[in-house]
Amino acid sequence: MEIPILKLKNILLTSIQSDMNDDDALKYQSDVMSTLEKSGAKGLVIDITAMDIIDSFMARVINETARMARLMGARVVLCGMQPMVALTLVEMGRELIGVDTALNLDKGFDKLVKMFNEGVD
C-alpha cells in the first residue's frame, strides 16, 4: 500500500487509512521521514478523515510517526478526526493520542502556520 505524501509550500500532507498492517506502517513512516529530509519541510499534517476506527495499533502508528517527525524538526498536526473515533478513543482509556489536533485540513494548516510564526513546539 503506497500512501501519497504531498508537499504544499513547506508543509507535508499525508492521509492515512485504517487498513494498515505492520509493513505498511513501517514503509509509511520511512517514506515520510525521507520526504521530510529531502524537501526540508517544516510541518507535517496527518489527515485521518478516512479512518472510522482507531485501535491501539493505529494510535501507536500515529504517535510514533509524529514523534519521529518532531525529532526531524517538524511540527505535526493531526486532522480530520471523526466524531465516532473521538468517542471511542476517550472510552478506550488514557491519552491514546499525543499529537496536536485540528478539526479539519483547513484548520490544521492554519495551526501549523501559526506554530511556525510563534516558534512554539
Binding site: 498492517n21 509493513d23 476506527i53 485501535d55 491501539s56 495499533f57 501507536r60 478506550m92 488514557r94
Partner: protein
C-alpha cells in the same frame, strides 16, 4: 427479533470464525464484526465499540502468541437484549499475570499496553481464562437493549 438466535444455536450469517496469524487478518475480523452488528441493528457507536474490541483481541493474537489463534464472533440474545460475543482462543504462551495485562500501559510486546484495558472499558463483559497448558481463552460481550 425472531431471526436472532439464542446463545448456543446456529445463526447463519450471524456467526463468523476468523483465523488470525498476521496483521492483515485483523482487518478481516473488523469487517466481520461490523457486518454482524449491522445485521443485529446495533447503533453506530456500538458497532465501533465492538469492532475496536475485536481488533484489539486480534492484534493481541498477532503480537503475543506463538502461532496465532482464532476469533469467533456471533450474535447472541438474552432477556430481551441483543448482543455480540467475541471469543479469542489461542494455544499459548498464555498470559502470565491477568491483572497486570488489564493495567493501562502494561505490555510485554511492542504495543501501547492499551489493548485489553480498552476492551474491558468498551465491552460490557470480559472474561479471561488461561488454562494449565498455557492456552488463553478470552470472551467479551457487548449488549444492546432493544426492548
Amino acid at each position: 427479533m425472531s431471526d436472532i438466535p439464542a446463545p448456543g444455536s446456529a445463526g447463519g450469517n450471524l456467526e463468523a470464525k476468523v483465523e488470525v496469524t498476521k496483521t492483515s487478518h485483523v482487518a478481516n475480523v473488523q469487517t466481520k464484526v461490523r457486518a454482524i452488528t449491522r445485521i443485529l441493528g446495533f447503533p453506530e457507536l456500538y458497532i465501533f465499540k465492538a469492532a475496536i474490541s475485536a481488533s484489539e483481541l486480534a492484534s493481541n493474537l498477532v503480537y503475543h502468541t506463538s502461532a496465532g489463534g482464532t476469533i469467533s464472533i456471533r450474535g447472541i440474545r438474552k432477556n430481551g437484549c441483543i448482543g455480540i460475543e467475541i471469543i479469542s482462543i489461542d494455544s499459548g504462551p498464555g498470559i502470565k499475570d491477568v491483572n497486570m495485562a488489564l493495567q493501562d500501559g502494561y505490555s510485554t510486546g511492542p504495543g501501547l499496553g492499551s489493548g485489553l484495558p480498552a476492551v474491558e472499558r468498551l465491552m460490557d463483559e470480559l472474561d479471561i481464562l488461561v488454562t494449565d497448558d498455557f492456552k488463553t481463552c478470552i470472551r467479551s460481550r457487548l449488549w444492546y437493549f432493544c426492548e
